[in-house]
């Protein structure tokens, strides 16, 4: 079965530090992976995606993510972190190549950046 795991429900760090939010997935086919961000009281916004090619993908707002097939991970990174990065982050797996255009979301990681 397809699944996405974000093992850290909460992450807190100081402004200026490096952030890395973890995401692992389970999927038998080639994964299409996404990160979305949800600011307080708002909807979800697209950050970046990995489809194929370079393992490191860059997205909006200075974020990047590294795809590692060896351990089925797709971690989100940013350095330095800013207080405005405080939000909830969701990792998602596109399982469209099963024939259904569906996405599986992780439970999310709530990031708090202390100024």
């Amino acid at each position: 079965a397809q699944s996405v795991d974000q093992p850290d429900a909460h992450v807190t760090l100081y402004e200026g530090a490096s952030l890395e939010l973890r995401c692992s997935y389970s999927y038998s086919a080639a994964p299409y992976l996404f990160w979305y961000v949800q600011y307080p009281g708002q909807s979800l916004q697209f950050l970046l995606k990995y489809i194929t090619g370079d393992a490191v993908v860059k997205g909006t707002k200075g974020f990047e993510a590294e795809f590692r097939k060896s351990n089925s991970s797709f971690n989100l990174k940013k350095s330095p972190a800013h207080w405005s990065d405080s939000a909830k982050y969701f990792c998602a797996l596109d399982i469209s190549n099963t024939g259904n255009y569906k996405y599986v979301f992780g439970a999310g990681t709530r990031l708090k950046v202390i100024a």
């Binding site: 974000q6 429900a9 299409y32 996404f34 979305y36 708002q42 909807s43 979800l44 916004q45 697209f46 995606k49 489809i51 969701f90 998602a92 596109d94 469209s96 190549n97 259904n100 255009y101 569906k102 996405y103 979301f105 992780g106 439970a107 999310g108």
Partner: protein
């Protein structure tokens, strides 16, 4: 710019009542989705659609119906609302290709008393 709008944004309903959440997209996307977001669960897929006239069951369809009368509109219907359906509901549209991202609406907060 891609746009997905939901209505109502806030709704209080009584147990046993009927609730309809509406979603409109101007993206001309074939695929539309309804998710609910609850603490600790992330987003869970309720129903989705590949185009006008089609609806598909997602991962948690029980207690919900969906309707896609046109390319632009996708509704989620709770015929007999229950307190367990209290949640925030998000509509999204997508291009339908393997590489497409989702565009989300602002969310509809439903409280069932």
């Amino acid at each position: 710019e891609a746009a997905v709008t939901q209505s109502p944004r806030n709704k209080v309903a009584v147990t046993g009542g009927k609730v309809t959440l509406s979603c409109n997209q101007t993206n001309n996307h074939n695929n539309m989705y309804w998710y609910r977001q609850d603490t600790g669960h992330g987003l869970r897929l309720i129903h989705y659609s590949y185009g006008a006239g089609s609806t598909e069951k997602g991962d948690i369809p029980d207690g919900y119906k969906a309707s896609r009368p046109s390319q632009e509109n996708f509704s989620l219907i709770l015929e007999l609302a229950t307190p367990s359906q209290t949640s925030v509901y998000f509509c999204a549209s997508g291009e339908g290709a393997n590489t497409g991202q989702l565009y989300f609406g602002e969310g509809s907060k439903l409280t069932v008393l």
